[in-house]
Amino acid sequence: MQSPVEIVQHSGGVIGVSWLMIALPLLGAAILLLGGRRTDRWGHLLGVAMSLAAFVVAVVSFVEILGLPESERRRGIELYQFIPGVADMGLLIDPLSISFALLITGVGSLIHIYSIGYMSHDPDRRRFFAYLNLFVAAMLLLVLADNYVALFVGWEGVGLASYLLIGFWQFKPTAAAAAKKAFIVNRVGDFGLLIAIFTVWTTFGSVAFGDLSGATVSGAIGSGAASQGTITAIGLLLLLGACGKSAQLPLQSWLLDAMEGPTPVSALIHAATMVTAGVYLVVRSGAFFEAAPTAQLVVTIVGVATLLAGAIIGCAKDDIKKGLAGSTMSQIGYMMLGAGLGPVGYAFAIAHLITHGFFKANMFLGAGSVMHAMNDEVDMRRYGGLFSVMKVTAVTFIIGYLAIIGFPLLSGYFTKDGIIETAMEHNQILGWLAVVGAGITGFYMSRMIFMTFFGKKRWADDAHPHESPSVMTVPLVILSIGSIFLGAFLILDNRFMKFLAPAVGAPEELPAFHFVSTAGLATLALVAVGAAFAWFRYGAAEVPQVAPRGSFLTTFARRDLYGDALNETLFMRPGQWLARIAVFVDNRGIDGLVNGLAATIGGTSGRLRRVQTGYVRSYALSILFGAAVVVGALLYVGNM
């Protein structure tokens, strides 16, 4: 077992100014938001330029990292001493964070470019690019931070950007509601993360990743400074945070609604980058999870449960974006499963995360291109036969499709297989469930392909599909090239595992990739069965334009496995009842007390003022009476 290496303080070079990666997109967002309409004409170009500039910094930093010996590849950059020695703010450039930075800025830049075309008819395009830049900056802060607190700032920043972008078309009530839902569900996870950070601080006195190595954690358990229970609690709370951000069970409900946002947003935030932040968190906190086997087991269970749930949901959705969202949930489930399996799993999880970032962004942008051509129609039952009219989109989409179902030698084949085989070695049940998930993936993705690009035309009468402009197709082509080759490049020869080893550790004996194995063959067989079934149902047979009622199982999947119904029954309705009771107590109880007191005083006064008759003699009489009382009292006191 090879542990992560120590962090080396760094100065100079491009790594020394790697904060520019965060600062440039942030500057872009500030200019676009503060500049207002004056920046409308060139705003999108500035957004793209800032994202590309961050990508350049990331690439050069990556090259510099590669030039260093392996034991010095974790570079710490000190930015600001908030309370010297106690709360320092810095960046950590290591193989893990730079991999993410490359994915975020690389795929992010492609999506920025694509958005120029996709949002060209939107009057608010500048604001859209401002938010995209804000997102890129926050996401980079999340992955580059060298401590949990700064990570949390980025964590909330991406949540904000996600909220703003889901609700970008806020004139649509569904979009506004979806944005709020995403924000609120994420808040639940954020509480978990916050409490985890507090616990880490009180237990270890530091929140910097450098001070929280595996040796520190096991040392603290050994010396009694931290109980095993505390470490498990930290792990579970971190997992809760990860579940919120990564739409894992039980906090998955927001992701499907998040598809209300513009499609590039779905591709960038809700497929390629932000939703994978939970996986990053689990891998980055490996020190805690490796010391808490219970928490690790829960991570794998959550992963498997979500990968099955997402796949089942994906099977029943007619909305192309929601189908892809279910698939995203499912694929992140695979990553979570990998992240719960220790250092071998980390490398496969992150590799799958990166290849998924490519092929899923590819398919989302492809779906956007289809929607663009079909007057924003999202119902796959109104598509069909699009292959002949939009060849580039169709071919790139099919490459993404082959990658995600694990077609041999494409990206998904290597990374997903890696996760399944590692899971199989770890626990047979988890492994076989993951294989079943892969089979379902084969079904629902094939269904999507057959319904969209093949079969009879079921278009709306006013639809005149056409291929999208090259500003949209070029990113698709680049992403699909990545979808083909990236997996083989990362996995073969354990290239990525060796690269990540200084940051997350690695097993003593690196696993060899088996092209022929039981799990691999079983996966391929199930995927083939799924695809054949999909062909039988949606390729060969006629697809009705209106969804048939379907069986109980179909309804179950269409209703997102009753996740919303469950949340409504368990949380929303009791909450509403609580609010109603509070309103009742307020209106009748507290208001009654206050108003009753006021009414009593008012009524009494109204009766008492009748004493003021205006007749002098009655006043004179009361004076006389008063004087008599005073005299009487004086006499009484004097005689005592």
Partner: protein, 98 residues
């Protein structure tokens, strides 16, 4: 020895008080107030005599001065009310009430 004076003073005070309470004419009410003040004066003077010092007589002079000032202002008010309302009845001047 001074009992008769005190009885007289009490009688005068009671007559004055009753007059203030039952009469309606402002002038008569006013005169009754004067009667009460003078009943007090009589008591003061009587006690001065009884105790053999001048304190009571001194106070009686103060009361007279105050009574004179009060007559000036009081009569002026009554005249003003009479001019505006054509009535000197205290029951007619009852606007200041609930």
């Amino acid at each position: 020895m001074t009992t008769h004076y005190l009885v007289l003073s009490a009688l005068l005070f009671a007559i004055g008080g009753a007059g203030v309470l039952v009469r309606r004419n402002a002038i008569v009410v006013f005169m009754c107030v004067e009667l009460m003040l003078n009943a007090c004066n009589l008591a003061f003077v009587t006690f001065a005599r009884q105790h053999g010092n001048l304190d009571g007589q001194l106070i009686a002079f103060f009361v007279m001065v105050v009574a004179a000032a009060e007559v000036v202002i009081g009569l002026a008010i009554i005249v003003m009310i009479f001019r505006t309302r054509r009535s000197a009845s205290v029951d007619d001047a009852n606007l200041l009430k609930y």
